[in-house]
């Protein structure tokens, strides 16, 4: 800047150069990430700034790409399940479910009722954990340091509960084709029952400390407005779509498992902005509690794994199947095509974050850099899921 050294070798990589080609003269091209506090992992966003205004932004992916779909090709169906826990560390059980559900659909395997309830309970607990993680990290993006500690205090309790049946705390590989790996024991159920009222009692604190705070409200109200039409064009789902007033929840739209029997509300917000998405997630946590409560009451005794569950040498029947579940970030889909071999011929994983993030370029246009960060956070990104 002040001295004219030859910095050509630092002038940028493929993506920066490609992006810079069409930048307006005199604008600043800023590289957010892949190592940046608010890109949640290794997302990279190249932005063109005019002063503090974002003229355009382009997310660049691939820094955490692990080619899960190739791994699915070289592993048997049952062997691929551990991978699903690693796709999305926030809501690992949602991914477990999507894949396992697709294979079950393909092979026409009936899952025992208790296992379905166990799936519902653990999946919803995991959703709470995921939303808490988002909540804390989002406030960190907005510059509040303390909420994440309180959120993690609660999240730890959820992880403690989930640790009992799954044996791990983050990258669960708990669902099996035809059921789940282990039943919820009495200890676990007792902890869940204790957690529900406790977490309910915590929610007012969240409201006092953060949701009602004037600084936060001013930060997230009116920014990142996403029209329902944009959700359609980009395929945004989950809280992002619901925050734009679209009443779409896979649990209700294409009911699966025991959700039709459970009473819960799909929250939507007409605000369409970051505040709308924030509110939707906060209400969703309460609704998850309701679901868990009911599921615990309705859960029958019985097996949690179907008799004759697939052995290692199991051959996946020919055909194709698509199964979608409502993840914490939106519609998680698994599309499997089998040629009748042990390994699934083609597995396509539909990541909700992938579609939600593709909105970012459009939504961030013309915002201030700080807002762009706030919008990025409000989309709730988990990079390993987006890159897969």
């Amino acid at each position: 800047m002040t001295t004219s050294q030859n910095n050509d070798h630092l002038a940028g990589d493929f993506y920066t150069q490609n992006f810079a080609k069409t930048a307006k003269d005199g604008n600043l091209i800023l590289n957010l990430g892949p190592q940046h506090p608010s890109t949640h992992g290794v997302l990279r966003v190249v932005v063109e700034l005019d002063g503090e205004y974002v003229m355009r932004a382009e997310p660049i992916l691939g820094y955490l790409h692990r080619m899960h779909e190739k791994m699915a090709e070289v592993k048997t169906a049952a062997q691929f399940i551990p991978n699903m826990g690693r796709v999305d560390y926030g809501h690992a059980l949602g991914w477990n479910w999507a894949f396992v559900g697709a294979v079950e659909k393909l092979a026409d395997i009936e899952v025992p009722e208790r296992a379905e309830y166990v799936r519902v309970i653990t999946c919803e607990l995991n959703r709470i954990a995921s939303h808490l993680l988002w909540w804390g990290a989002y406030l960190l993006d907005l510059g509040a340091f303390t909420p994440i500690m309180y959120a993690f205090d609660d999240r730890e309790k959820v992880l403690d509960i989930l640790q009992i049946p799954t044996g791990s705390r983050l990258t669960y590989s708990y669902f099996r084709i035809g059921g789940v790996a282990q039943d919820l024991n009495a200890d676990c159920i007792r902890l869940i029952r204790a957690f529900i009222p406790w977490f309910r009692s915590r929610l007012p604190m969240y409201k006092d400390l953060v949701s009602d705070n004037i600084i936060l409200r001013k930060r997230i109200e009116g920014i990142g407005v996403i029209e329902p039409d944009a959700c359609r064009r980009f395929g945004a789902t989950g809280p992002v779509a619901r925050g734009s007033g679209i009443n779409y929840d896979v649990r209700r739209a294409t009911p699966y498992s025991m959700y039709p029997k459970l009473d819960f509300v799909v929250p939507t917000s007409e605000l369409k902005d970051a505040r709308g998405r924030y509110d939707v997630r906060m209400i969703e946590m309460e609704q998850s509690l309701r679901i868990i409560e009911q599921a615990l009451d309705l859960m029958p005794e019985g097996e949690v794994l179907v008799k004759g569950a697939p052995k290692p040498s199991w051959k996946v029947p020919k055909g194709e199947a698509y199964f979608a579940v409502e993840g914490a970030r939106g519609k998680i889909g698994a599309y499997v095509v089998s040629d009748g071999g042990k390994n699934i011929y083609r597995t396509k994983l539909r990541a909700p974050g992938f579609c939600n993030l593709s909105l970012f370029a459009e939504v961030s246009k013309g915002t201030i850099l700080a807002d762009a960060v706030a919008i990025l956070g409000s989309l709730d990104l988990i990079i390993p899921e987006i890159d897969r």
Binding site: N18, H65, G319
Partner: protein, 182 residues
């Protein structure tokens, strides 16, 4: 639902069992009418779920999954492109989100989409972007009709044999109101 594909030169239309495959309708389209089909779907308020390719003996079957926010039911568009010239028109001008899905399909299978506004590698490092990890070897490829769900066939173009089972039983050759062949 068939009405959506009137005049698009659809090759194959079939109803599917949602409980079994998770989709309610599928259509094979010629590459040329893909963009028009996408436009109609957007008009009908469908949203794009994903785009992926399946490497079969006959070529790459590129699968577009669409769903609807208000009236859920997955609709699948499929296009067959040959192995030696895998080129398709991009629908990114209609469904903006398709841009990334198409780039991903290029990364994995090497299917090219003409008209994509920013057709650079998405997930794979640009320095090794021509390795196409999900392309299969000749021997490993399976036939599309063995794997893809035939469904309850509504219309099939006479020239279209990809999905025709060895013993064509349920194929109803419809006339008049059904779309003309490409």
């Amino acid at each position: 639902m068939e009405a959506l594909f009137n005049g698009l030169g659809a090759l194959y239309l079939a109803k599917c069992d949602a409980a079994k495959t998770g989709q309610v309708f599928q259509a094979f389209l010629p590459p040329g009418s893909l963009v028009r089909a996408a436009e109609r779907l957007l008009q009908d308020k469908y949203f794009l779920e994903d785009i992926c390719a399946v490497d079969c003996v006959e070529g790459y079957v590129v699968v577009y999954h669409f769903d609807h926010f208000e009236a859920p039911g997955r609709l699948t568009l499929r296009v067959l492109v040959p192995h030696d010239a895998p080129t398709l028109p991009s629908i990114a001008s209609v469904f903006d989100g398709a841009e990334w899905h198409e780039r991903e399909t290029r990364d994995f299978h090497g299917v090219l989409f003409t008209g994509n506004p920013n057709f650079i590698p998405l997930l794979i490092d640009p320095e090794m972007a021509d390795c196409f990890p999900l392309r299969k070897e000749e021997k490993a490829r399976a036939k599309a009709k063995d794997m893809l769900e035939a469904g309850e066939v509504i219309f099939v173009s006479p020239a279209f044999t990809l999905m025709t089972p060895e013993a064509p039983t349920e194929v109803k050759e419809s006339s008049g109101d059904q779309p003309a062949t490409a």
